[in-house]
Amino acid sequence: MKRISPRMRFRMMNPVLQFFKFIILSIKIMVIVAGGHGGTRKVN
């Protein structure tokens, strides 16, 4: 069953669009993962 439309698939596999997606994803992941971590038990 085709759940992903041709337009959506084009966007998923287009190297130019995906290059920008790659930059955005890299930054977002860096912010989330390297953006810090800590405890949960002491609440100010």
């Binding site: 190297p15 994803l25 890299s26 989330i32």
Partner: protein, 485 residues
Amino acid sequence: MAKIVILGAGISGHVAATHLRRKLSKKHEVVVVSPNSNYQWVPSNIWVGIGRMKSEKIYFPLAPLYKKKGIGYKQAKAISFHPEGDSTEAKPYVLSEYVVGDEKGKQEKITYDYLINSTGPKLNFEATEGLIPGKNKAYSVCTYTHADHAWEGLKAVIEQMKAGKKAKILIGTGHAKSTCQGAAFEYILNVEQELRKHNVRDMAEVTWISNEYQLGDFGMDGMLMSYGSLTMKSHEMIEMIFEDRDIKWILGAGVNKIEDGVAHYENLEGEHKSESYDFAMLIPSFSGHGFKAYDKNDNDITEKLFKGFMLVDADYTSKPYEEWSVRDWPETYQNPSYKNIFAPGIAFAPPHAISKPRKSKNGTDISPAPPRTGMPSGITAKLVADNIIDTIKNGKESSHHKGSLGNMGAACIASAGFGFWKGSGVSITTFPIVPDFKKYPDSHGRHLGKTFGAIGLAGHWLKLMLHYAFIYKAKMRPFWWLIPE
């Protein structure tokens, strides 16, 4: 002068060793004890298992690197823990046995001031009858040797399909309490794409079998996530991917026996069923290594150190799912009885699962164990190393570096097919890993802006970039420490 002993040279053990060596002066000793001679970047096993990457590309020998960097290395396995020493040895030690060379079989009391237990999980294949990597047409991708065998098995089935024989492929979890659904998810998508590349997709029936209640649970109780401009549940996203690729699925399945080409399982309805296959890749359950611990009088004190995995600063009080709290999860990975022992990565005993526990109508537990993947393993190892470094430098116990899985993000970049232009990846980030229902009550315990999914070629590039970046970092090449865990 302090001596820090690290058991294990996987992601968390290696991260701890490298940071300790970089930040501590040479008068302090850092020693790694591991039965393995190589460091391996486990996430890339998926590509080895489809023949798209040679296993040599994902591992390198530890001994030359450790010698060059001034890290002690003993190729030995831990036998027992003696945190108070014994009648002849005043210092705490780990009894270890060498596994190679002239010293093979020789036992040594390796003393320490600080001990980091990063022995990871035991791949508990024995828990499922007949589940033996490479036997009964069932394989694993948990190590690079397993992945090599998996590719041999898959290649043979592809050749049979090219010769006109139809085949059934079964991928997922091989036990009612398995975790690591993410690795199996990556593998099924990669296998499916390989079948298309070999023009045999129409000859194969590809089926996902899992102990998850819903698709996309991943042992993390599922996620509510942003996907483009939409907000969707992880099971909707994975359902979309599987339906689009014509992958069938069997959920709530506790695989309990493997015979030649047949997987027997019990489902949540209590029914006993079986699924035949020509090629299967099933993730086993994980367990602790069964270490024993003794006090200075040789009394068994295993329960002070282990509950399967190692006990740390978690709240292990037994309670129902509704009362589980993010605060149950450990922050410093320090053993409460022996403050100089730590267990980051997969070596610590989780307080409970993350996914809602479920039983079949027969009372069999069928639900995923909590996943603890590479990224949190690296982060928790680094914070343990930082606390030890601060303690040594300040001369008093320091534990201000904290990292609960309930206050930590993770990215799962799941390869969905290999190829620089034709590849694909499913990128899923989540914050926090353990849902915090008090902090984020309306978004299933997670921050919606930081919990998102994306599908496409960029995901493949990301996974490839992480492969090269983390191997560069692990080899301690110039400025390696600038690459975050």
